[in-house]
Symmetry: C3
Subunit: 249 residues, 3 copies
Amino acid sequence: MVFGKPKMAVFAHMDTVGFMVRYNDQMVPVGSPEINDKTILTGRDNLGMIECGLRIDENFRVYHTFMRGIQRGTLLSYKPDFHKKGKWLYSPYLDNRMGIWNALMLAHTMKNGIIFFSTGEEQGGGSVSFLTRLMYEKYHVTKALISDVTWITDGILPGNGVVISMKDRYIPSQKFVSSIIETAEKNNIRFQLEVEDNGSSDGGEIQRSPYPVDWCFVGVPCKNIHSPMESMNLDDLTEMNRLYKILLN
Amino acid sequence: MVFGKPKMAVFAHMDTVGFMVRYNDQMVPVGSPEINDKTILTGRDNLGMIECGLRIDENFRVYHTFMRGIQRGTLLSYKPDFHKKGKWLYSPYLDNRMGIWNALMLAHTMKNGIIFFSTGEEQGGGSVSFLTRLMYEKYHVTKALISDVTWITDGILPGNGVVISMKDRYIPSQKFVSSIIETAEKNNIRFQLEVEDNGSSDGGEIQRSPYPVDWCFVGVPCKNIHSPMESMNLDDLTEMNRLYKILLN
Amino acid sequence: MVFGKPKMAVFAHMDTVGFMVRYNDQMVPVGSPEINDKTILTGRDNLGMIECGLRIDENFRVYHTFMRGIQRGTLLSYKPDFHKKGKWLYSPYLDNRMGIWNALMLAHTMKNGIIFFSTGEEQGGGSVSFLTRLMYEKYHVTKALISDVTWITDGILPGNGVVISMKDRYIPSQKFVSSIIETAEKNNIRFQLEVEDNGSSDGGEIQRSPYPVDWCFVGVPCKNIHSPMESMNLDDLTEMNRLYKILLN
């Protein structure tokens, strides 16, 4: 979605972790799902709807427990279970529904900017490098924000505000990150700075692309990422959306 | 090779696994060769032809056993030994001679299409990303088939037909894969669907490239891949070539 | 820096290994620094200059020992300590000051050629792929030399001359490498050929890019790479610079 004369782009990946059915009731992970033996999966193949549990063997292979075989290549994902408790939101796939929600909220009032919804980022990537080419070659936009969730660590805590990341496996442009921090300070937005050794967002794919695009992860901390029951603090989400609205205008 | 007004491209890598001579008779692998202490290697340096065995030490370093030193940087590959036995073909480097054979057979009758022979894919890649740029920017072609061999697993068996891959380390476009499956069904071609957790074909490099090109691996199962004696079933090859001929027309 | 009608480009990365301050006095590595508990680091945050030691805990986490906290995201690097002893040069960050020195010396007399100074290559890369696009699309240059340092091994020794690399994790074009070797031979330049299984230079990023650019690492052996006290032989550097001057003319 392109609005007016864009100067900045927002990336939110739409794909989710889960499983693809292999042979003999085995399933292979799509992305890196965090499961236990109570996880419930749903999906659909040519024979109809599927809802089933799973079983993990001693070699960490995962099998579905559906009463019939499931066609090869069928995708299964966590059964939805969305609820709120005080300031906490619980659901599978807050990663990256919250990043998408943030982008859609922006769209209501955005005058200039690009919003990209990508697929494929949980499994090897590829869409983001194509979108980076598009934003640079077609729209001459050289700044990107990654609207996504991040891990809770000893320095990143739920309730402490929007997360601005200074380093994960990649290091974003210090100039661009500083300008975002300054904007947050000026506007009294609660934020926390992330510095990590590992992990990577869609920004890594922008970094590796042959286009000179600055990027920065700006998101929220999320508990139990990639599990069937992720959770996050609503105040962080409010701060995140406030910051995006200012940055995109 | 470009024919007529291409709508689809075929990728077949030409390079092979093997060794490059290092220092003190040591050799480093090119790609991931599967060897034992009876493997025979051949090559040539400035001093002449080479045919030799190899020796593996306790740290899994590999040394050649040629009677003289071999110049640094000399490439050695498996000694050819091609034979047929019933429906089975035996030879080193069926990976990817069979992919190339399939592409050359196509060329006889192809009216519209591109065939790419790439080098470098066994060792880090790089050619395919360049060819993807070429096919997209110069020929506006956005569909690619990977003509190559794949591993035998508990779901992929020699003699069961051409392999259409739904997932390896990367996931191809479901729409494109479905259209290939449909074509195979309509034309009574024997096929088997592959769903794996690991492994990657040249399609992975297309996926990571900044160009929106759909890809799918369509190939044959091969025994003892990367060893001096790979083998495959000729019926699978026939089915593979039949499917390619229909898809490219 | 672009001179005349360039036919070849020289890449020298400018960034260094070091640390970024995380939370609770912890630091995360930038690149892969090789440290011990006597390493001294320097840097600066909003509160002033920093010079401090470090401490490594039983989980190989690294902490600074500065008397006060340091702001999140602050970068620390090795304290400079440059000295010469006979034919040996000692200093942190010879990787890649020597590659840069070589490129700057070239610039004095260069008539046709491009020199690229990149940042980001110690931490995930990304600049080189952009520069490869630039050199190919804007300047139509398809040959690149990587001006950098390499490891000492059982085949690569300091004092044995400039290193021309035939293989690391990637394999450069044999035709291009052969032409460089020939040039070195014709001009009586002392050189040694490198063949390694692992490791990668900026050439790897050129290889993976979607542009058909030949590359070759041409550099010097360096002791204790990424430590606070790297060292190298000045004669190797002289030979390296002589070879570059001939290749670029």
